[in-house]
Symmetry: D2
Subunit: 335 residues, 4 copies
């Protein structure tokens, strides 16, 4: 990759993130629901490599290492092999395009039991050492339920001298423990993050480099709470590609330039980001040769009413039905 | 594979089919919606191989060659390379387990324009020659909108001396052109099929070897018509894994023993078939190590209300919400 | 009333029926749910009179006596007073317009226990004597779950020499005990009915005078079964006035000329029938002075977006929301 | 009535309000949608009297004069006859029970065009003179979209020396023009109101006599905006009697003691208030003789599964279906 993350964002370029490794590979049979760990990078490297390839083809400019939950407290003796293999897989595919490798860390299991800053920072440092050795292009701190732990993560990651992107998520307790999203963003920036999740920035008034990584699900019933409380979790209702085009436009318009996905985001969701922003970026991703904008391949279908579908107007005005008249449209969250 | 299709079915064994290559690979960026052809077997063999592997791990006893629409009239000069590569990919993966390779043919494009028996049978023969050369274990005629063409297909395929399984689908015209499903089943059996789709057999009173390959979608609004008329087609609402367990039980109880999937059937749907029938079969598929029955891995989740979910009772009594209160539950089919 | 029922229908006139006394008066506090008897005609005659007046103002050409379930086996010693008072109330209001009085009988309680033709016919004769004494204009046999009992009713009623209209309803057992609707219609006509419910005539090929009296509810989940099985019964989801306009047009177009309502049909539903058929009939009912077609009074509203609503196109294209995102759109019927 | 409003509330008694005259009489054909004026009190006094009777029988302790929009600017020359007749009708029925007559005023049309305090107060004074002459028991200021005008109304009404109850509603502009509900409540109390709508008191910390008069509709899609924006307005989805029992309990528990209804509230909704509070009040209303708690009459139904329904548990756990699978559960408000 010629240009790093900040060069790209500083020059006004859009950076398309990648999607969900964890839930996508769970649906493919390689990740264990509940445990949510990335042992697949050593057990089934081809499957992980294949998914990286799909995101690349779909238009991702970032290959995030599949190191979710890969801290030593979760993976035990496997942790080093997993972090190393994840970096290699991400790099292998990134180099087939013009993508950046992002070393990713998330919350630890330890924090829930012992809010021990020294031990937790040590866990982050161990992962960071692998990322440094493997020369990732930047670092990303993602999926923290507690602002304090996210700040610790950013403090560790910035020591690398590489750019740090940071997002938090509103935890299942429905708040960030006395910190508002705006305060959290300020804390993360002060701690050293260069790119901050736009949700963290509501009300903060800051506007440096904004990123957003949405869930790939419909979750209006979550309210401020995490999606863990939805009765269908972890197997819920997937957003359409057209939903994601709308989300992309809504993020881009007010200035977000790093747009990707979190849990449940599939590669056709990433492709939808890339297709929505094709006018601005000047090109379509490789996987659009099988899709075109708005499903253009459908104009070759044998049925005339299906040939009439591949138009922006058709998909934007379609109200997808659930096919489940005995089911409600919203659920009552648990807990 | 030690035992062939009929040996297995004759001995009372369950045969778990495989799922949807076309729509799954469309969502992964390798198949063009509208054209629906399998050029991916030559363009992206790793992606196809990976999907075969996932079905195998999920419990499939059959690897259907990814030759949907791969007749000469659709693929032109590519047709031979595609059929050959598809056989090789299916065999490569089948031999990693105890799976059978099924050479698959479907309706031609020609039929819509010229109902020319000689030319159409010639197209089937060409594919069959490849299948024979590559020594597939049995043949499957699937996705025909017209009973007449399905009968022609079976007549050609039985010449191979290998078992023939046959299914039709009710076409978007809402009927099979003057033939009822029961009549159709009798025609297909007379033509030489040994295993026939259970839908074809309603009212026929026949009961040799029954198979069923369901869509992976919720489609109560289709009525008797094909799912092409649903406004969301070809990107519709996916069934849950629990829906598929219910479907499996409902098929197994009255005697269906070949149970697989058609369009939209993902590997976790196949795994759900294998998990539902684990008591009868005596084993779980490899991919269940990441799932267990009823999502057993969730009992390791950090939140107590999620640890309470991995139970048959929980998932069977859950009414999945759409998350879309502005959308209806059923759509008005087109056309 | 100058012209009787048959003169009107023979001359091609539309006859607008009336709506539901039972459920409307239950909601007003005068009828006991479960018992469903018309003691209100003696206990609260003003309330019944008021409802007759509302139907008349809404456009009804028929005042059906509120004698549902008023046979001797249900009402005991009250029965004669109830039938007499009901006739007086209906006549009092009918004579304020140009409406006809219809003496109404329905199924007995006796039939469920003793299918004793003699005793049941005797019950009908007793009611008929009151109707004859009070000189009703015609007779109507409505709400029978069993075709046999409906035939007995018609046989009794025709003895009066007055026209007999007859409808059956498909009972909660889901059939009419071995009689198809078409056979039932033929039986009713042979037994002496001059006007027969259009549902009874499907497939009968007969087409004399057709009537239809719909429920005022949305009941797609009933299937062929009665609406008693819906979990919300007897307090269910009411049709809009626009639904009823559509129903009216759908009945009128193929030739139905007696159009009214059964359970749950309110007076604004009757007004909707009269408004939909105003072009054919040449006049609006009195109550339309407060409504106009398509809610025309709304064009005097203070808010511009509400002034934009009173148009056929607006209401026909509106999809009414339930306001209940936690509830399904269809229920699972009981029993 | 022996005891006045404040004596009742001071002694801890519950006061059950009445329901919606306007929308109920619109559905009965006597009020013009859009104009929403009470000319029915002179045109169809029996119909208004009948509705008062129904509310009384349902348990209302208050007969509000049907004088909505009956200020001189709306009714022109009719205004005095309308106000006088409305008082007479309310008194006639109130005296048949132990009910109080409340003289009701609402916002003027004038305010929207000229915020002229002198002219608007003059309009209120004119109505108040009639109320004083007819010796109503107390006064109620209800349905104001603007806090300022509500304060003017209270300032006029308190001059009568009678108790004043006051509610505002959040206007279709979504706010009260710079005044929060809590501030509004304080203003209304300072202006002289003795009983104030609980919505006005959120956050005010005051807790004298609280009242609540809910809509009879499901309106989660309104948000903070008025229900005028709902596409179905003014003909929307009615709450069930069980919904209203829940609403009653939720109002009573934190201390509200004047509980009634606003637009769309039918008499069976009022009866539901009275039935829910029967344990506290020690008696059921007259109309419960046709209903009993939880529809107890249904235990006389012929079908066993319906006899099983009249239980609190059944109705509280029922999720009413819309019967409309092609419709959404929430609408997109207009404007």
């Amino acid at each position: 990759a010629c240009n790093g993350l900040l060069e790209r964002l500083d020059s006004g370029e859009v950076v398309v993130g990648d999607g969900s490794y964890l839930l996508t590979l769970e649906k493919r049979g390689y990740v264990k629901a509940g445990l949510w760990a990335p042992e697949a990078v050593v057990e089934h490297p081809n499957a992980v490599c294949q998914l990286h390839m799909e995101f690349l083809r779909a238009g991702s400019d970032v290959m995030q290492t599949f190191t979710f939950s890969a801290s030593e407290d979760n993976m035990e003796s496997q942790w080093e092999a997993v972090n190393t293999a994840a970096c290699d897989l991400a790099r292998e595919v990134a180099d087939k395009g013009d993508a950046l490798v992002a070393g990713g860390i998330c919350q630890t299991s330890l924090y829930a039991h012992h809010k021990d800053e020294v031990r937790i920072k040590k866990l982050f440092q161990l992962q960071l050492e692998t990322f440094a050795r493997k020369n990732v292009d930047f670092l990303i701190a993602e999926y923290f339920e507690h602002a304090v732990e996210a700040v610790w993560a950013v403090e560790v990651l910035k020591e690398s001298g590489k750019p740090v992107a940071a997002t938090v998520c509103i935890g299942p307790e429905g708040d960030m423990h006395g910190v508002t999203p705006g305060e959290c963003a300020v804390k993360l920036m002060k701690a050293g993050a260069s790119v901050v999740d736009v949700n963290s920035l509501q009300a903060a008034g800051l506007k440096e480099h904004l990123m957003v990584q949405s869930l790939g699900f419909h979750m209006p019933d979550c309210g401020n709470r995490g999606f863990l409380d939805i009765p269908e979790y972890p197997f819920p209702r997937v957003a359409t590609r057209w939903d994601i085009q709308k989300y992309t436009r809504e993020a881009y318009s007010p200035g977000v330039r790093y747009i990707g996905g979190c849990c449940g985001f599939e590669l056709y969701h990433i492709r939808a980001i890339a297709e929505e922003l094709a006018p601005e970026r000047g090109f379509l991703p490789p996987a659009s040769e099988k899709h075109g904008s708005w499903g253009s391949g459908l104009n070759m279908h044998t049925k005339p009413w299906i040939r009439a579908r591949p138009r922006r107007e058709y998909w934007e005005n379609m109200w997808p039905a659930s096919g489940r008249p005995l089911c409600p449209s919203l659920s009552k969250p648990d807990a």
